[in-house]
Symmetry: C2
Subunit: 171 residues, 2 copies
């Protein structure tokens, strides 16, 4: 079973992201718009309660997340994915590190770049075309996210929420 | 904003339901397989924290749900929807009533028939054909669900989890 840890932004940001995702994101139907805090990690189904307990413990130390989004970026040429860039605050970086270090699972595959994907799995040509249109789009979202979620993946690739954790700590 | 309250069954049941839903359920991509405990209800976005608090209070009184599924049924002719019939235990009926009575929102539109939809929005002909094939399928699932979820709907019709509630009460 694969699990992952995400934060869902507000309905306003999710609706904005979906306006692009429905056209450009192959994962559109598998999960609603999200910030990945810990990427997909393979575990035994029986381990999920233990993982949930570790996440709960980590969340006790963290305050609600202050999120700021001001541009659309791309991971090209590494990956033809376009995303809403989430300001990499110290708080977000610390939360990511704590989840990596204190919750079971492999090492992160990539350096942590907080983001909300809006387009992926495009050809290089399509990517350049779409990003050419989107890169100048004005975006300006600022909000507070006070909970994160543990998800697991079904056989068809979609994700189900297992548990929600409130952030009510002090960091 | 529309909210709803659901219980997600285990990955095993969700994968089984999705094997049908991907072909027959128009809501397949909008939400993973679920038992609706309180159907979609219109509220102001600002009310969601209050609603969340009411659900939390209700859940304090309930034990994990004992779920038993032993047949595939249909709502026809009222509605051309096919579903996994969830045994309507007293516990489930009481939880539904408590959520109806103690959590803000309109009256339930239908009598509560606990189920997991696997096919919907079919023509009468397609329904009869598919149900003819599925009605004799042997299903036998028994499990415990120890959490329920508050969801809200995005503009594209998909559902995001707002909060999870553990059932750890005594009913």
């Amino acid at each position: 079973m694969k699990y992952g840890i995400v934060a869902f932004p507000s309905k306003e940001i999710q609706d904005f992201a979906n306006s692009y995702r429905k056209r450009y994101d192959t994962h559109y139907a598998k999960i609603t718009p999200h910030i990945t805090l810990k990427g997909e990690t393979e575990i035994q189904s029986s381990e999920i309660e233990e993982i949930s307990a570790s996440i709960k413990k980590v969340c006790e130390h963290f305050n609600p997340l202050t999120i700021s989004i001001s541009k659309i970026s791309s991971f090209a040429p590494v990956n033809n994915a376009i995303y809403l860039k989430v300001e990499p605050t110290e708080q977000l970086m610390h939360l990511h590190e704590a989840l990596e270090n204190d919750v079971a699972g492999g090492e992160a595959k990539y350096k942590f770049v907080p983001h909300i994907t809006i387009a992926q799995d495009m050809s290089a040509g399509e990517h350049d075309d779409v990003f050419g249109q989107l890169r100048m789009t004005k975006v300006d979202f600022n909000e507070t996210i006070n909970r994160i979620h543990l998800l697991y993946q079904l056989e068809d690739g979609s994700w189900t929420v297992f548990e929600t954790y409130r952030l009510r700590g002090e960091e």
